[in-house]
């Protein structure tokens, strides 16, 4: 019975993409529609289509709606979607590479590393000429990249085999340490306090199109690198040595995948602060539903990850409206129990052999 259903799902990749895609579209529409002012879904579709293709004249629609959709809700939803997608695909890649279903930018400490980079930028009011607005994401990416390599080399020092728990523990150590550095900077800061705190809480609100322009190139770059390494990820999830025997250039591919993961995490953190557990929950769920093959796991994680974060954002701003909850609260509320569940499952499996 179980085998049959698994086979069905395996042969039904189109259905998988269909389900994930519908989920994403539904999330987008809900995310734009619901709020203090409710916008009818048909109107949303009209506005977007007219903006994209100019099919309908926008004048028939109330200007308030069109302004809410185009200037407030749509950028917010797209940003949430991009952040969710980045974190989810990065998480899926880290998990495959490290053969560790508990790995995710947050548990590995990469998000904290990116935060340090971002806070540093804000604290010193850094702005590198030429790239200007990209200073923040670039520094975030640089710091997340440094963090992942520090965490991994430290974990290897502890134990050559790099057990799942060792990596996670190392990630927690680094997270705590980096968190302390951020606290220190906040304590030392004066005028920038509000900006830093607001950014740290993690949010996709009031960022506008500017932020989408910041994250989009990094998202595309990181995702493309990862999508071109899905077979290698498949091979490496059987162990680096095995991958090597199968013909994978492990050193090169590992560096590429880790770099891509850092780019995605760093960019996501730069625009929205630290949002935890997206990279843990989404790949896990996708794997459960559609199998571990990375060739499909990564694209599916992108789709479901963005849908998930759009919904999480929707909940965070409507649940105690008019006050907004930080989006990280919602993801942690869902993510932490899932984390615990995976851990339990793993232990049970190890015990049963």
């Amino acid at each position: 019975m179980q085998r049959l259903s698994i086979r069905k799902l395996l042969n039904n990749k189109i259905a998988a993409y269909g389900i994930a895609g519908s989920f994403l579209i539904l999330s987008i529409l809900l995310g734009i529609s619901i709020g203090t002012v409710s916008v009818p879904i048909f109107t949303i579709i009209q506005i977007i289509l007219s903006k994209l293709f100019g099919w309908f004249s926008i004048e028939q629609i109330e200007p308030m709606f069109s302004s809410i959709v185009l200037n407030i809700r749509l950028p917010r939803v797209i940003l949430a979607g991009l952040v969710g997608a980045s974190l989810a695909i990065a998480g899926a890649a880290f998990q495959g590479l490290l053969r560790n279903p508990l790995a995710d930018p947050y548990t590995l400490g990469v998000s904290s590393g990116a935060s340090v980079g971002a806070v540093l930028t804000l604290f010193f009011n850094l702005s590198i000429p030429i790239i200007r607005s990209f200073t923040l994401p670039l520094l975030s990416i640089l710091f997340s990249w440094l963090t992942i390599f520090l965490v991994l080399s430290f974990a290897r020092k502890i134990e050559r085999s790099m057990r799942v728990e060792t990596i996670i523990l190392t990630g927690i150590i680094f997270s705590s340490f980096l968190g302390a550095i951020i606290s220190l900077m906040i304590a030392l800061t004066g005028d920038e306090l509000r900006q830093i705190i607001g950014w740290l809480l993690g949010s996709v609100s009031m960022r506008g199109w500017e932020y989408i322009k910041i994250i989009l190139p990094f998202f595309v770059l990181g995702s493309v690198i990862l999508i071109f390494n899905t077979k290698e990820l498949n091979a490496m999830s059987f162990g680096e040595e095995r991958a090597r025997h199968l013909g994978v250039n492990v050193q090169k591919r590992k560096l590429l995948i880790l770099t891509a993961g850092s780019i995605l995490t760093g960019a996501a953190v730069a625009v929205s602060g630290t949002i935890g557990f997206v990279g843990l929950v989404i790949p896990h769920l996708s794997r459960l539903l559609w199998g571990p093959d990375h060739r499909h796991l990564l694209p599916l994680s992108i789709i479901t990850g963005s849908g998930f974060l759009i919904l999480a954002d929707l909940i965070s701003r409507t649940i105690i409206s008019p006050t907004e909850l930080p989006i990280g609260v919602i993801t942690a509320l869902i993510g932490a129990p899932v984390f615990a569940l995976i851990l339990l499952q793993r232990k049970r499996m190890e015990r049963s052999g």
């Binding site: 495959g96 053969r99 799942v164 059987f238 162990g239 095995r242 199968l246 250039n249 794997r287 571990p292």
Partner: protein, 488 residues
């Protein structure tokens, strides 16, 4: 195909391997042996390119190992290692399909018909096709091992490296896997390099063996040369005994357990012989090493019960072995622990003697009848009709015998028997000449294998002298008794 030249290296600064050189030819099954820590796995990892070579060179098809990139190497060499981790529940087919990675080139690396065909074929060959949609995490250790073998074979390698391939497999799959590999080496020219822990498996299947000792080559030769008692004893530092495989020309090693056996003095003598109407029985407290030609328990072995059964002269049974085994069971003997013989002689006429030698003793029991006496030198004049043996000789030795001594004992006993018949002037009814025995004689040599070591049993050795004398006397007495009975 593969040439290793003066290779040294290892994990860190310390070289595990020192100056290793050997060559493996195409289609060869090459075994690597050695105790734990002798560098077997290190060597395999160097050949597969996982570990760096600090000195020397490895050539594959005439090209240096370092000149290959990862994919090129994977098209030639596939590896089946001892442990494989699987953190995610890939299906069996997905796992096997990964083996095609090295053959897929280009940006989009499409899955072709050829790939599909090869994957299906190797799954058939390894017997995993039946559960190809199952998750690999649900499989048993042996099934997993076969899935990874299929993955390695999907690479279509020219060289297959195996690290203890039979580790998780039960007996039948061990044999199946090695049979399969062996056939491939002969049919497709696949070259197999494999680490073995089991010396006997290595001896059975490999064309050549490389014995490593402390990171250096002890010997690289054919199995019979490598698997020598003294060499294996020295390298593995354990007591072993070599003996030939019963069916194929391959050396086998057996371990000698070092358990302190509280061996009671197990002395066989006349007090243990029980004569009943239907059979004569001798039961030893401990199993004896035997060499015999009985109906049951023939050949060499270890046996505890010895039965000489009286059957009617006209005894004729299509399956006399089974009938004898049933008879033993009915009388409370375990056939696998018993040497059983048959005779038509009246069992009361058994004659037996116990002789003491220097540090050892023998006990001989003979039932003799010469109804169908034959002169073996002219036996071609006889037609063959198997009949229950008429001179059955049992020789028990309270001492330790070598293999030679067993054979020499049989020779000595046979010569003594022939002489007894000669001296009694027993005539072969067909040829009219003096007989040397009967057509269906049986013999048993049984030794306690404790006490004095008796290396030889030729006619003028201490043991041979006693055997000759005892057999001659017992046979003479036995024949006289049965002849007397006939006259009466």
């Amino acid at each position: 195909m593969l040439s290793v030249q003066h290779v040294s290296g290892g994990y860190t600064d310390v070289s595990v391997l020192k100056d290793i050189s050997f060559e493996v030819k195409t289609g060869e099954m090459f075994g690597i042996l050695g105790p734990n820590g002798s560098g077997k796995t290190t060597l395999l990892k160097m050949i597969s390119g996982i570990l760096p070579i600090s000195e020397g060179n490895i050539f594959i098809k005439g090209r240096r190992l370092l000149e290959f990139n990862s994919k090129q190497l994977a098209q030639i060499i596939a590896v089946l290692s001892q442990h494989s981790s699987q953190s995610f529940s890939y299906s069996v087919k997905e796992t096997v399909s990964l083996g095609r990675y090295a053959h897929q080139t280009g940006w989009f690396q499409t899955w072709g018909e050829n790939d599909e065909r090869i994957v299906q074929r190797v799954m058939q060959q390894t017997g995993v096709a039946a559960f190809q949609n199952k998750s690999i995490q649900e499989l048993s250790g042996g099934e997993k091992q076969r899935v990874f073998l299929a993955q390695a074979l999907a690479q279509e390698p020219e060289i297959l490296l195996l690290d203890e391939p039979t580790n998780h497999l039960d007996l039948s799959y061990q044999k199946e896997l090695l049979d399969l590999l062996k056939n491939w080496t002969t049919e497709t020219g696949l070259t197999v390099l494999s680490i073995f822990h089991d010396l006997n498996l290595a001896g059975l299947y490999c064309d050549r063996l490389l014995l490593l000792e402390n990171g250096a080559i002890n010997i690289n030769h054919i199995p019979n040369e490598v698997l020598r008692e003294e060499r294996i004893r020295d390298v593995y530092q354990t007591e072993i005994k070599k003996h030939p495989h019963p069916k194929v020309a391959a050396p086998q090693m057996v371990l000698l357990p070092k358990v302190k056996q509280d061996r009671k003095v197990n002395c066989i003598d006349e007090s243990m012989l029980c004569v009943y109407k239907e059979f004569i029985e001798l039961t030893s407290a401990l199993p004896l090493r035997t060499m015999s030609s009985g109906v049951i328990g023939s050949g060499t072995g270890w046996h505890q019960n010895f039965v000489n059964r009286h059957v009617d002269k006209d005894y004729n049974c299509s399956d006399h072995r089974k009938e004898m085994a049933d008879f033993l069971k009915v009388n409370g003997f375990e056939p696998s622990e018993t040497v059983g013989m048959m005779t038509a002689v009246i069992l009361d006429d058994v004659s037996y003697k116990h002789f003491e030698g220097e540090g050892f003793s023998i006990f001989v029991a003979v039932t003799a009848g010469v109804g169908n006496a034959v002169d073996s030198s002219k036996s071609e004049q006889h037609t063959f009709e198997p009949m229950p043996g008429t001179i059955n000789t049992w020789i028990f030795v309270n001492g330790e015998l070598t293999e030679e001594a067993f054979i020499q004992s049989i020779m000595t006993a046979t010569e003594a028997k022939a002489k007894a018949l000669h001296d009694l002037n027993v005539i072969d009814g067909v040829t009219g000449t003096v007989a040397t025995g009967t057509s269906t004689d049986s013999i048993l040599i049984a030794a306690t294998q404790t006490g004095k070591l008796l290396e030889y049993a030729g006619t003028i050795t201490p043991l041979g002298k006693l055997i000759g004398k005892a057999v001659y006397e017992c046979t003479t007495e036995g024949i006289q008794k049965s002849q007397k009975r006939k006259k009466v």
